[in-house]
């Protein structure tokens, strides 16, 4: 069942992205899990949990539902059910996080968790242009009030930031120019991580899956699909055969329930 959440804060992240902070926690939520957010008479869509205490969601306005969310104000309500699906699980003590688009949202949540556990974290963010880069400062900020990203960390005032943050844009308008996979290669060579975690567009994930296999690195990738029930029943969220094959995803794997995160050792 959907719980009622009231917006307490809205932060504009870039020209088409806002973060919504809500009035209460989503207990037990793990980085990589998602909620089905419902706006009556509009629809219901999956959104990664960008922070659990209190709940926060980062929304890129790209179509009817996300635009409806963007029209909301502080005090307005959103309904959400979850937490759904399988999230990221920290493996080892040095982590490489790779995000594209809204994918940085669950990774920030994950980074906070890893850093709080005393682990080290490298982050690679990819985007089209400087304007599309999201949350870059949040990853290196030491002010946790800026993104009280996970359960029980509300009161932590100064958390050490990630070790190394590299940004890549396709047009070179911020950070390195090119594809984020190049930055990932570099990061792996600089310091081999115990595990690679990624969330972003499918082509990015497919490329990363190949790269991690080459380097025999454990990796956990968060996949995206059209979701309906979100409960592992309707079968709608199966990935297409091509994606599955190139990424080595098992047949019959359901993004909504077996995923969205798939782990390869």
């Amino acid at each position: 069942m959907h719980e009622t959440f009231t917006i307490t804060q809205i932060r504009t992240e870039n020209y088409r992205t806002k973060t919504f902070v809500f009035d209460k926690p989503f207990s037990g939520a793990q980085p990589g899990q998602y909620v089905m957010a419902w706006l009556p008479d509009v629809g219901e869509k999956p959104f990664s949990i960008a922070g659990a205490d209190p709940l926060r969601l980062m929304v890129v306005a790209v179509g009817p539902f996300s635009e409806a969310l963007h029209r909301l104000d502080v005090g307005d309500r959103v309904w959400a059910r979850g937490p759904l699906g399988q999230g990221f699980a920290l493996e080892g003590r040095h982590h490489l996080l790779v995000g594209g688009g809204y994918g940085v949202a669950p990774l920030l949540f994950l980074a906070r968790k890893a850093v709080a556990a005393g682990h080290t974290v490298d982050v690679c963010i990819g985007a089209r242009t400087a304007a599309d880069v999201l949350l870059a400062e949040a990853f290196v900020s030491t002010d946790s009030t800026d993104f009280n990203g996970f359960v029980g960390e509300k009161s932590v005032k100064s958390v050490p930031s990630v070790e190394k943050l590299s940004i890549t844009t396709e047009d070179g308008s911020l950070g390195g120019r090119g594809l984020v996979t190049q930055a990932v290669e570099a990061a792996i060579h600089a310091r081999r991580p115990d595990c690679v975690y990624a969330c972003g567009p499918t082509p990015l994930l497919v490329a990363l899956a190949r790269l991690c296999r080459e380097h025999t690195l454990p990796h956990q990738l968060s996949w995206e699909a059209h979701m309906r029930c979100g409960m592992g029943l309707c079968g709608d969220c199966e990935l297409d055969a091509v994606t599955r094959q190139v990424a080595g995803i098992p047949a019959g794997w359901l993004v909504c329930k077996d995923g969205p995160v798939l782990r390869f050792a």
Partner: protein
């Protein structure tokens, strides 16, 4: 260890747990997965004459004592479905897991046509869904609502499937389900599936709205179990065909109750939300353990004892 082999019409199932229609039965991959995770047989999602997108989200929620859904019979149409089923059948063959197709339509004649199209894939059984509660606006009162319409559909399908047996899937929201069962058996049904979901509505008070975009949906899961047991019980005491007892089965013990009510096999759907796809094999294993404790050696013995 007790023997859970299930003899259903001319089929031999390694266990009586059948993947219910509409849950995961949308692709050959998913049907194969359900088989590998332990189902005795698998049912594909219901398909109709032409492709349907189904209803917009929300299409399903857990309301605490069960689920409600109005997926809206999304399906690729009979022709595409027949291709999928043929592939599924080939993949299930080596696993020894029978394939059940499921069909729906808007008119009696269309039921016959869909049945004929699907027959090309040679499923082991064709389930005739005359009881979907989520599309009433478009299709009027479901065929399962009256003896006459239920029998007419049964005859139309039966004429088009050659030697493939059919099971007619009944609705719980009728005054006397046993009468409907008698009518479809009279009309040629080889088996009965009971039951489909019960029409319901979940309202979110704060939102002031029904949760499903379709407003009305079908209730499944735990809340449905006693309704399904009662229906199976009444049907089993009226007709002599095997019944796939479906509704709210979540554990091996629930499956035992369904068999005691008079079912020959047991459909499982919603349980996969809480227990995952592995629920299919797990429920079969739990049933075997329960049978051992309760002193049953075979499924047939349960049936006998329940009729005492």
């Amino acid at each position: 260890m007790p023997d859970v082999t299930c003899h259903f019409l001319n089929l031999t199932l390694r266990n009586p747990i059948i993947l219910a229609s509409g849950i995961l039965g949308t692709s050959a991959d998913l049907l194969e997965r359900a088989a590998r995770e332990g189902a005795g047989a698998v049912t594909a999602k219901s398909c109709g004459p032409t492709p349907r997108a189904g209803h917009p989200n929300p299409v399903a929620v857990d309301w605490g004592h069960g689920l409600i859904n109005a997926v809206g019979l999304s399906n690729p149409g009979a022709a595409e479905e027949a291709r999928m089923l043929a592939e599924a059948r080939a993949r299930l063959e080596p696993l020894g897991v029978p394939l059940i197709a499921s069909i729906f339509a808007g008119t009696t004649a269309e039921f016959g046509e869909v049945a004929r199209t699907i027959t090309a894939a040679r499923p082991h059984l064709i389930e005739v869904n005359i009881s979907c509660p989520n599309v009433a606006d478009e299709f009027g009162t479901p065929f399962a609502a009256s003896c006459e319409s239920a029998a007419a559909v049964t005859e139309a399908v039966k004429r088009n499937v050659g030697d493939i047996p059919i099971a007619v899937k009944l609705a719980p929201n009728v005054p006397d389900i046993a009468r409907i069962a008698a009518a479809v058996v009279e009309a040629g049904a080889d088996a009965i599936t009971a039951i489909n979901t019960m029409p319901g509505m979940v309202i979110n008070a704060d939102a002031g709205r029904p949760v499903l975009s379709n407003r009305i949906g079908g209730i499944s899961g735990p809340a449905l179990k006693p309704i399904a047991l009662r229906c199976v019980y009444q049907i089993a005491r009226t007709v002599r065909v095997p019944i796939i007892g479906t509704g709210g089965v979540t554990t091996g013990r629930d499956a035992a109750e369904m068999l005691l009510a008079g079912a020959t096999a047991v459909g499982v759907g919603s349980a996969m939300w809480t227990r995952g796809v592995g629920a299919l094999g797990d429920i079969a294993a739990e049933l075997a353990v329960w049978m051992g404790q309760a002193g049953y050696g075979t499924l047939e013995e349960i049936g006998v004892r329940s009729e005492e």
